[in-house]
Structures are given as structure tokens and as C-alpha cells.
């Protein structure tokens, strides 16, 4: 009985704290996304020939976001029946957006104004106390930061439409 009460208290507490942390994170993410929205970021591998790029450098960023007790509990129940684990979705979303934002922040701080060849990867280093359970989500983002001449008007950058592959 004591264990059940402890579980219920943990669920309630971690629901509140997890929700609070998530809301604050989303608020920050949205603020920064607005701030960085004019930074050109693409997954092209090469710099298009007409982009007057002057400098290039590898930038990387990574993010580790932990699950909370409530999310894991709900997910464990979900695992019995199958279906969308909705409590994990915001976690993945937050980690991905946070990683891209960090990449952009890093690039801008070093004086670059665009990123090409953006790649996202996920790895798992953190394990929870119980084996075979995920402790959190880890996203690694990397890309090539470049300096391009925007002629003080970013709408002048032409983004080439890739030619379709003919096989």
C-alpha cells in the first residue's frame, strides 16, 4: 500500500514538474526560433555555385533531454497495448529543435550567417536504472556553417531547385 501511495505521489509530482519544465522549454524554443528564423539552414551537401560563399566551418551541437517519471510510466502502459507513445513525442520534438537552435547560435556567434549540409543524428549513452529502458533522448546536429554575401537583403539568395535524378 505504501508503495502504491509513493507511486501516486511520484506520478503527480513529476506530472506537474515535467509539464512546467516542458512549457518553459517550449517558450524559450519559440522565442529563439523567431530570433533565428532568418538564418538560412539547408541540407544541401554543396554550396550552390552562385552563392558567393567566403568561409566554411564545421559546427556541431548536441542535446540530451531526460524523460520524467510520469512520461515513462504512461509509456510503459502504452507498451503493453501498442500505439503512439504520445508522452515521448514532445521530448523528441524539443530535442531536435533545441539542437538546431544551438547549431544556429554557435554559427552566428562565430560570424556565419548560413548553414548547409545540416544533419541530425541520434545516439544513446544514457541508461536508466532499469536496464533496457530509455533515460532520455539525445540528438546530435552538425552542419557546415558558411558566410555568404547577402547584399543586405536576404531575399536575394536564390535557392536552386535540385534537378530530379533520372534513372
Amino acid at each position: 500500500m505504501a508503495q502504491l501511495i509513493a507511486t501516486l505521489i511520484m506520478l503527480l509530482l513529476t506530472f506537474v514538474t515535467g509539464n512546467l519544465i516542458e512549457r518553459r522549454h517550449y517558450k524559450k524554443i519559440k522565442m529563439r526560433e523567431t530570433k533565428f528564423k532568418d538564418m538560412l539552414t539547408t541540407n544541401f551537401e554543396n554550396i550552390p555555385y552562385d552563392w558567393n560563399a567566403s568561409e566554411a566551418r564545421l559546427v556541431t551541437s548536441n542535446v540530451v533531454i531526460s524523460l520524467d517519471y510520469f512520461k515513462r510510466f504512461v509509456a510503459n502502459l502504452r507498451k503493453v497495448f501498442g500505439g503512439n507513445i504520445v508522452t515521448y513525442e514532445p521530448l523528441l520534438d524539443r530535442a531536435r529543435r533545441e539542437a538546431i537552435l544551438r547549431l544556429k547560435e554557435k554559427a552566428r556567434a562565430r560570424g556565419y550567417n548560413a548553414i548547409i549540409n545540416l544533419r541530425l543524428e541520434t545516439s544513446q549513452i544514457a541508461n536508466s536504472l532499469t536496464p533496457k529502458q530509455t533515460a532520455g533522448v539525445e540528438i546530435l546536429a552538425y552542419g557546415t556553417a558558411i558566410k555568404i554575401n547577402l547584399n543586405n537583403d536576404n531575399t536575394d539568395v536564390k535557392i536552386p531547385i535540385p534537378e530530379p535524378l533520372i534513372q
Binding site: F15, K79, V86, T87, R97, N154
Partner: protein, 275 residues
């Protein structure tokens, strides 16, 4: 194509389901699922456990006898063997013609009022129970009732239910199984069904009648328990023995049906030495 600054797409990656709604749906679904599984498991145990041959039961549990050096017998606590109680049990068991058990009786050091039948022929009585018993007849019925559980092989049902329920919880529960296990074991596993208890009561009455020529004092303990029954609903539900008043009535009816005397003079309480 020109570059246009855009904000990230908010629409697809996160489902618009409130986590609490998800939680409630899953908890309800999971409880129903678990309840069905546990009911299936315990019905299976109820059917299969009594079929375990006596020989097998003895072989598995023969080593499990109360021993005053063992500080945690069957996970209960310290249980010291009692020769006085064993003598009384043997006296009663003589009236069970094909008794296959060699009973051993132990006293559990506990303030709770409890008695139980363990596989292999071990009867445990709590020191709290011995404290409130006022006559030999009263104690004899408690012991005869436990012998009744052996007669009906209920002790194996309880064990089988416990094992299967733990198995079910282990498979299904994962992380949450520890918490669930504690609840389920108090609610269903450790208890006998009311029908089992009533059957053991009837068998107990038969033994007591055969030994003393009357069944006086048999309901005394339950009357005392009934007086103390100001407990909460949950406690009453989780108690392994059904509500005392109903049991007293059923026992008296059974005795009257057989014209057994139930208002004779009671024998004085046995003197039992225990730590």
C-alpha cells in the same frame, strides 16, 4: 525559388492528446486487462493447485518447518515451534480419518490476530491471537479451522494464486510491477475466498464436535473480532477472513442443523509458553 524566413512547423510532430487523458485511458484499460488476467490466473490456480499430489507437496515443503533459529520464516518473521499447540492439533487431527499430514505448529511473534496454514503441514498462530483467547475450545476451533484448510487443500490454492499473480504482474508490469504487486497481494493473493473459509469453518466445527462433544466457544474469537471491527472499508475488504458477524451466523446455523450443543461450559485456556 527565393529564401523566405519561416518558423518551424508546429503541427505534425506532437500529438494533440493531453497527457492526463492518455494516462487515464491507459490506467483504466490496464486495470481491466490486469483484472481479467489475474482472475484467469487465480481460477487456474484454484483448479490446478488441489491436484498437486500430496507426495509432491511434502517433497517440496518438508524442509519448511518452524525453527526458532530462523529469524524470517516464510517471510513472516520469527516463528517458534510449540509442543503444547502441536499436542492440541494432533488431538483434533485424530478425528480426520485419512489425515496424511504430520502437522507442525509454530507461534509467530506478532500483535496481529492471525492464524494460517502453510504448505507441507505447518500451522502458524500469532502470539496476538493466543493473547486474546480465553479457553481451550476457542483455540481448538481456530486450529481445527486451519486443519480444514489442509483438508480442502486451500493452502496450495493461496500459494498457487500468489505465484501466478506475481508471474502475471512480472510479465505485464515491468517498472510498475513492484507497486502493483503489493496491492494485489493484499487484495487477492493472500486471502482465501469466502467459500473456502466457510468450508474450513464447517470442517473445523466437525473436528471440535468430535473432540469435545460440543462446539461451545467456537465463535468466541469471531465475536471478539467483530467488536473490534470498526476498521475502514478497505481494511475490512483486505482482511483475509470474511466479516466476522456473517461467519458467526453461518457457524451457528451449521451447528444447529446438526443439533450440536454450543452453550456448554468451556475448558480453561491452555498454558502455552512462548517468548
Amino acid at each position: 525559388m527565393k529564401f523566405k524566413a519561416k518558423l518551424a512547423d508546429e503541427t505534425v510532430n506532437v500529438s494533440k492528446v493531453h497527457p492526463l487523458k492518455e494516462f487515464t485511458t491507459l490506467i483504466i484499460g490496464f486495470s481491466i486487462f490486469l483484472a481479467v488476467l489475474l482472475i484467469l490466473a487465480s481460477s487456474f490456480a484454484n483448479i490446478v493447485a488441489p491436484l498437486v499430489p500430496l507426495k509432491t507437496e511434502k517433497r517440496i515443503f518438508s524442509g519448511l518447518k518452524p525453527d526458532s533459529t530462523n529469524e524470517n520464516f516464510f517471510g513472516l518473521g520469527k516463528v517458534s515451534p510449540s509442543s503444547e499447540l502441536k499436542a492440541l492439533v494432533d488431538k483434533l487431527a485424530k478425528h480426520w480419518p485419512q489425515n496424511p499430514y504430520d502437522f507442525s505448529v509454530g507461534i509467530l511473534d506478532s500483535n496481529e490476530i492471525n492464524a494460517m496454514a502453510l504448505p507441507g503441514g505447518t500451522i502458524i498462530v500469532s502470539s496476538g491471537l493466543l493473547d486474546i483467547v480465553d479457553s481451550e475450545n476457542e483455540l481448538a476451533f481456530v486450529l481445527a479451522h486451519e486443519i480444514g484448510h489442509f483438508h480442502n487443500r486451500d493452502h496450495l490454492k493461496g500459494l498457487g494464486r500468489g505465484l501466478l499473480s506475481s508471474l502475471v504482474l512480472g510479465i505485464v508490469g515491468g517498472q510498475s510491477s513492484k507497486a502493483l504487486n503489493s496491492v494485489v497481494s493484499t487484495l487477492s493473493v493472500s486471502s482465501y475466498s469466502r467459500r473456502d473459509e466457510a468450508r474450513a469453518d464447517r470442517f473445523g466445527l466437525e473436528l471440535v464436535q468430535a473432540q469435545y462433544g460440543n462446539v461451545s466457544g467456537s465463535t468466541e474469537l469471531f465475536k471478539k473480532l467483530a467488536e473490534n471491527e470498526n476498521s475502514t472499508l478497505l481494511e475490512r475488504y483486505t482482511r483475509s477472513h470474511p466479516i466476522s458477524k456473517i461467519r458467526i451466523q453461518e457457524m451457528m446455523d451449521y451447528a444447529d442443523k446438526h443439533n450440536w450443543l454450543r452453550k456448554e461450559k468451556l475448558l480453561p485456556a491452555l498454558i502455552i509458553n512462548f517468548d
